[in-house]
Symmetry: C2
Subunit: 380 residues, 2 copies
């Protein structure tokens, strides 16, 4: 599925402004997706504003009210009077089902332009986009066909990757390759367009394999797969089990791994050994901490080894570092992180020095780096 | 600091579209903040587009290039050639310092309108907004003075809170109260405007105490303080220490607590006891799991008690539940979570039934609920 994006508008909660923006957007595109403003409170103006823009009444939908009522009953709660407004829809619109929240969306038409409204709550919005909007977009497509794909990379910076790709990323090229970055991971968006789907798909596929060749192991996935999902898949494939001892990351890697449904197939458990006492309880010899410090290659190595043995996993990960803002020294600055990896009888430790001084960033990149170490070792 | 928002635009990476949008925005407002497009790759078009819009050249800034070079050297890396473009700025613009990334921003003028450009990377954008843009906005303010504040609530739904606040949330009222919601927490935005700052601040303060009176313990903080930060502050104030045993939340609460700098003052460590074996290692009697199931009041209670004893903390939290999508039964459906709380010699367990079927949502609301239980108990 591909479509050209005309742009986006963020509109303050003011009915006149929403109506004006809908008018402007109608001139630019064939489909307007409105997110948010479908809640039960007085600042939720999407229903009224769209109805006013279309010059139609708001109609009450009894069966939707019953569904909302049932939603509250399942939680053992009574529906607040305010929620009644969520059963109002612009006349002539089609109701879009919301299986995980109280606010359904709707789909209206203004001449040739479609207006879809979905809640702003991210989980609801994403689900409804996938299940309700995408199938309807596919019916609207005309003219050149766009196909796109994502390649997710970890282990190099944005500029390094761009340098490696060279002319592939040049503007105006077809396929076009764009680049966005998150917590140390880089997402390449490859977009091809052609007269028909087959041709566009061929161009896309050719570019994808070019990028794979250039970037090699830096690419960890295509599409929407996250790094924890990729690692989880590898662990399952190889019938491995994993346990973690996290210090500076404080549970982030465990949380990332357990975000994936079915993680219990390979994830046994973790220790968050934040204090030195907690590390000693994990069996890190006190003398090792005295001699080398809690943030050291030696401690990371023993953390990985001991946690694997403790949980009976064949892979153990130990992470110890200085996330800041305090605690850094000349010799061991903020951003220094050691990651130990025990796989069966082999123990390796990677020393990382993250230059950012941002605590959240250091923690999350350290967590991603640990997962990436596991990935690279299992991919061999 | 308060300012009225004219709206927002998301623009595809197309120079002509950026220029057209800048033109439209100039007609609507006194300040345009452009985020993103300052990276080193060819799809980063903000510098060029703003220069073209202002009809000025891009100027090379040698001292900024030296700073970017030094940034890479600190990481023990060589700057990629691509990064040179980040030392280019529209002629006549002021450079905005970026202490945590490679891309500096800039501040330009187009007649009476200011155009500020900052990177899109969230941590960099937020820091630069606070340190570089907010002080400059304060110099731009004219006419009515707006002051605003946030009240953060947890423990009731959006519609319940709106019902309780009644007329306070009515549209057109001054102060105006808006409402946004995240992972079960509700943020109320109170915005007052008046001829001068003193008057506006008085109106705001009056409304804030009205809301506090109506909502009581549902309000956990004002401003930008997160629930984990509030809980951390309480733990520190009361000289408490805490340890966690997390099952279905898989490390989220530990991660939230350790996100706060200085958490080592009160956080000792956690177990992520994902498997039954891991629970048994924590000292949960196997018979208890056989009799009542791993997801039970009894197991949550013993998890809290044992983890506190194990780490020598006076507060222990035990969380066990079914986050889904699999694993639910008629009797124990997806969304059922038990949270045990041991404070000194007192043990309580709360049974929660989250109606959402979304795994991420259940996990994160369960984590917030656990933190909120600690907050409510310590606030008494």
């Amino acid at each position: 599925m591909g479509i050209e994006t005309a742009g986006g508008w963020t509109v303050p909660d003011d009915q006149e402004r929403i109506i004006r923006t809908l008018g402007q957007a109608c001139e630019l595109c064939d489909l307007i997706i409105v997110t948010g403003g479908l809640g039960p409170t007085d600042d939720d103006l999407t229903r009224q504003a769209v109805a006013a823009f279309l010059d139609v009444e708001l109609e009450f939908n009894k069966s939707i009210l019953d569904i909302i009522n049932a939603f509250f009953q399942r939680r053992g709660k009574t529906m607040a009077e305010k929620n009644r407004s969520q059963a109002l829809f612009p006349a002539g619109s089609e109701v879009l089902d919301n299986p995980i929240g109280t606010a359904p969306g709707f789909w209206s038409r203004h001449g040739d332009v479609s207006i879809a409204a979905v809640p702003g709550v991210p989980a609801e919005m994403k689900l409804m986009f996938r299940n309700q909007i995408v199938p309807r977009i596919q019916l609207l497509e005309k003219g050149d066909v766009f196909v796109s794909a994502k390649l997710r990379c970890f282990g190099a910076g944005e500029s390094d990757i761009a340098q490696k790709l060279g002319g592939l990323m040049i503007r105006g090229r077809n396929p076009l390759i764009n680049c966005t970055c998150g917590s140390g991971d880089i997402v390449l968006h490859v977009i091809a367009h052609a007269k028909n789907k087959t041709e566009a798909a061929e161009m896309l596929e050719k570019d994808m394999s070019l990028v794979h060749n250039v970037l090699g192991g830096l690419v960890y996935a295509e599409g929407e797969q996250s790094l924890p999902a990729v690692v989880g898949k590898l662990l399952k494939q190889h019938h491995h089990t994993i346990a973690l001892a996290e210090s500076c990351t404080g549970g982030i890697v465990s949380q990332m791994i357990t975000d994936i449904p079915g993680a219990s197939d390979y994830f046994l458990g973790s220790w968050v050994t934040y204090s030195n006492d907690a590390k000693i309880q994990l069996g890190i010899p006190e003398q090792l901490i005295i001699d080398h410090g809690a943030v050291s290659e030696q401690v990371a190595s023993v953390m990985a080894e001991n946690v694997a043995r403790h949980f009976g996993a064949n892979i153990g990960v130990g992470i110890t570092g200085i996330a800041g803002p305090g605690g850094g020294t000349e010799e061991k600055p903020v951003g220094l992180v050691y990651i130990g990896l025990q796989i069966d009888d082999t123990n390796t430790v990677e020393k990382c020095l993250f230059s950012s001084k941002n605590r959240q960033w250091i923690r999350s990149v350290a967590a991603m780096t640990a997962l990436n170490m596991v990935r690279l070792r299992l991919n061999i």
